[in-house]
């Protein structure tokens, strides 16, 4: 009976015991290792106390691990079937925040469902990948590059992109757009479109500038010349760089970061947690974390390469690229390489929704891995 729940019915079946055997335990360990670095940092942020952050983060991570297992054991074909409905629900919620959302951190991002406060944009990150993977699964290589098949996926990317940008949540919008384009690329869209798109994007920069909110423009300007306003908007970047740079090779020692503990660092338990890590544990600590992240990415890519069905491949790569973008945007931001956009450091930054979204994503990745030998016809209606 339990097996039946985790299987899609029709075609090949796997018993729950086999799925356990197929589960990649090394990957789980890797994730636990990264999350533990996060716990340690949150413990340090609270001046050596497990409360209020580390404890709650651990609890969420625990829930996340359970979620990962449940999602991983569900048949990949079930996920394929649920892809469009899930995307539709996420889209409805995203439109919903326009009307019932409340403002947190200066932007409309949250929706209150009574028991939990939901960030529909987080949900969208996963469901967009599902929906695009589902869509491209049904196309031949030739069809991907045909204009009439491009309309649908562009709409799927464009709608949430526009909605999150409106909130305004520049970080999420960029993530959604980039993941969407990457999936186009992986599905096999001809190179010429990327070249064309690149040229168009360059031309659109002046228009895009006009659409940005004042604070977003200010962030870009501050990024370009942070020292111009060291006590105002450039303060965060400058302080983050000071924290990082002063850490040196081996860091100032766990819980000894002066920039962090004397509050010179902004939002050090969320978006700027990497600077605190680099300040306290130095280059060694920072590179260790980046190394662990890279191992996760390599695993994700290897899953994509091994999987025998296009949906699973695109899903695995979509999740991986999404994860990569999180890491890149966050770390590049705190090191002053790109503008300050509110993107957390995955598995390490304090925050519930992001953690659950991530673990769900890893669940899907693992599901693709477990069911990697499944071959699925381009037209899944044959099963359902």
């Amino acid at each position: 009976m339990v097996d039946a729940f985790f299987n899609g019915g029709g075609g090949r079946e796997m018993r729950l015991k086999d799925k356990f055997l197929e589960f990649n335990w090394g990957f789980l360990l890797l994730i636990i290792a990264i999350a533990s670095i996060g716990f340690a940092m949150l413990y340090s942020v609270a001046d050596g106390s497990i409360d209020p952050w580390a404890s709650r983060q651990m609890m969420r991570f625990g829930v996340g691990v359970v979620l990962l297992f449940v999602v991983a054991f569900v048949d990949i074909r079930v996920w394929m079937t649920l892809a469009y409905p899930a995307f539709a629900i996420a889209l409805v919620l995203l439109i919903g925040v326009e009307f019932v959302g409340f403002t947190g951190m200066g932007a409309q991002r949250w929706i209150d469902l009574g028991i939990i406060q939901l960030q529909p944009s987080e949900l969208m990150k996963i469901t967009l990948i599902l929906a695009l993977a589902r869509y491209f699964h049904g196309l031949t290589l030739d069809q991907v590059s045909r204009l009439k098949y491009m309309f649908m996926p562009l709409l799927m990317i464009g709608t949430p992109f526009y909605l999150t940008l409106r909130q305004p949540d520049l970080g999420t919008a960029l993530l959604l757009g980039t993941v969407g384009i990457t999936l186009f690329f992986l599905a096999g869209l001809a190179w010429r479109y990327f070249i064309l798109g690149g040229v168009a994007a360059l031309a659109a920069i002046p228009i895009g500038w006009g659409m940005l909110r004042e604070y977003q423009r200010q962030r870009v300007l501050t990024f370009l010349d942070p020292e111009s306003d060291p006590l105002g908007s450039g303060y965060h970047i400058l302080q983050a760089k000071i924290a990082l740079g002063s850490g040196g090779v081996f860091g100032k020692g766990f819980m000894e970061g002066t920039q962090a503990h004397l509050n010179f660092l902004p939002e050090k338990h969320t978006d700027f947690i990497f600077t605190m890590l680099a300040e306290e544990l130095g280059l060694v600590g920072g590179l260790t974390l980046i190394g662990l992240y890279f191992m996760v990415l390599m695993f994700g890519i290897s899953v994509g390469l091994q999987t025998r069905n296009q949906f699973g491949r695109l899903l695995a790569m979509g999740i991986t690229v999404n994860f990569f973008l999180y890491i890149f945007i966050n770390i590049a931001m705190v090191m002053g390489l790109i503008p300050v956009v509110g993107v957390p450091l995955p598995l390490v930054s304090y925050g519930g929704t992001a953690m659950l979204t991530l673990m769900m994503g890893f669940g899907l990745l693992m599901s693709a891995y477990i069911h990697r030998s499944f071959e699925i016809t381009r037209n899944p209606a044959a099963f359902w």
Partner: protein
Amino acid sequence: MLNNGVDNERFKSFSRRAALIGGAQLLVFGGLAARMYYLQVLKSSEYQMLAEENRVNMRLLAPLRGEIVDRFGEVLASNRQNYRVVLIPEQTPDIEATLSKLTRIVPVSETQWKRVLRDARRSPAFLPITVAENLSWEQFAQINIHEPDLPGVQPEVGETRHYPHGPSLAHVVGYVAAVSEADLEDKDPLLKLPGFRIGKNGIERHLDRELRGAAGASHVEVNAYGRVIRELSKDPGIPGAKVSLTLDMEVQRFATERLAGEAASTVVMDIYSGDVIACVSTPAYDPNDFNIGLSHEKWAGLRENAHLPLLNKTIAGQYPPGSTFKMVVAAAAYDSGLVDPKQRIFCSGKTSIGSHDFHCWKRGGHGYMDMREGIMHSCDVYFYEIAKRIGIDRIEQMAHRFGLGETYNFEVPGEKPGLVPSQGWKRAATGDVWHQGETLIAGIGQGYLLATPLQLAVMVSRIANGGKNVIPHVVRAVGDQPVPPKSALEEIGVSSAAIGIAQDGMNLVSNHPRGTAFRARISEPGMELAGKTGTAQVRRISRAERESRVLTNEELDWKQRDHALFVAYAPVDNPKYAISVVIEHGSSGSRAAAPVARDIMRLVLERDPSSRIASGAGVITPSTTDPAKAG
């Protein structure tokens, strides 16, 4: 399976592109690692410095100002605990309510109230704001008791300069006051500390650097909001050096009392070492007022007072020396070889050059006198005569040898040079030639001649010590370093015979019954003084007045009355100390200044540790010299 061929094709494309993405990710991560290397290795020291700058705040600590003590160690300027009350805004729920409660213990004026509220708005809530300073002990204790009812209020103890002797040392020790804009040329960071005081006058100013000490520093760790987390290190700095003066506070105090009510000054000094034992200028002001901050009314009162309390008369009061100058003229005459000291010169009460009459202070005249008797009687005609013979330039040279017209780099700032005229000086200053009549006037210490009480004390010291160039000084030691005398006691270039005549003359003035200061003598054996009176005219007596009757001082306005001067040294047979007293418009040197000088000198001699009062040998008594024979 069904779509195997087609799938293989897109799998191949996917795999290529996935590998490409993997490669791109590796590159990006490599870029991030490179950036970390750049920040954390290449730029690390720079950022470490910035982090330290963020974290560490240096707070200057004011060192304790050095004490000033007299020659016996009595404290003349010290640091006193200053009780004050501060308010920490973040610790009180309602600043105004707390302030009004505090008003019941310490009056808080409207302006203070406003300032506190303004400061509370402007500065972070954890920084204390000073509400009131210089509280009494009772107020301070009251605040301590009521602290639980006064949230955010804290009694504090600071240090402030204190002058226990008040006005009596105002001009010598000086005072400290708030740092002014002009003082900031001195780049010592201490000067920018709120509430810092700097020496503005007297020794406080002259030795300000030594008294100030070196700033200490407390390095504290602060957070991003400026709150102090902990002290990292503390360097207490170097406290200011203790300055020891040559003054004897007992004498200083007595002299101040003795001169109270007058516009007067006195200098007592050791004739060999140059130690200034007392240096008093009255009236004075309370230096403590300047430290706390002088009210407008008080300041105006000091400025407008006709007795000039702000002026240090001992070094900046310039007076015609009058008859106290006659020893100098006598010495000049003797050393010129043009006057025989034994030659008797006749005084009829006046002498004349051309149509000008020059009168003696004694209308009937003194009859015949030699040089010693001329000094004893302070006969003007005698000195007109010898001045006429030797000329002004010899007098001028001699005056300089005795220290007149000179400054001594005295440690108390504001020293004036006085004035000793000469032919050259007059040509340069007025363009006019020197008239012989002016020589006569200079011969009795009037006219252009000006001297400060300090210079007069030096003059007498050089007579008393046998013509050595003693130089006065008031700083005995700075820290552990004794300050050596400024002079090696070289000869000033006056013959000992001339000095002897001056000494004899002064001895007669005080100890001969017909001497002008006989009434103000010290009769205790071994303590006798030798002095010289001076009554310096400040107005011109017209011929008409001279012919009818010269007005007595009592009949004149205070401003018109003669200055009373007296200079002396003692003991007469073994001189140690010299004194000068000038009482502005005191009318008579013998009646106003001499008794004061005698009383002060007696105290000085009583306090002299090595003084062994033994015999009266060498003192001229009526039996040894008969003044009647003098004529």
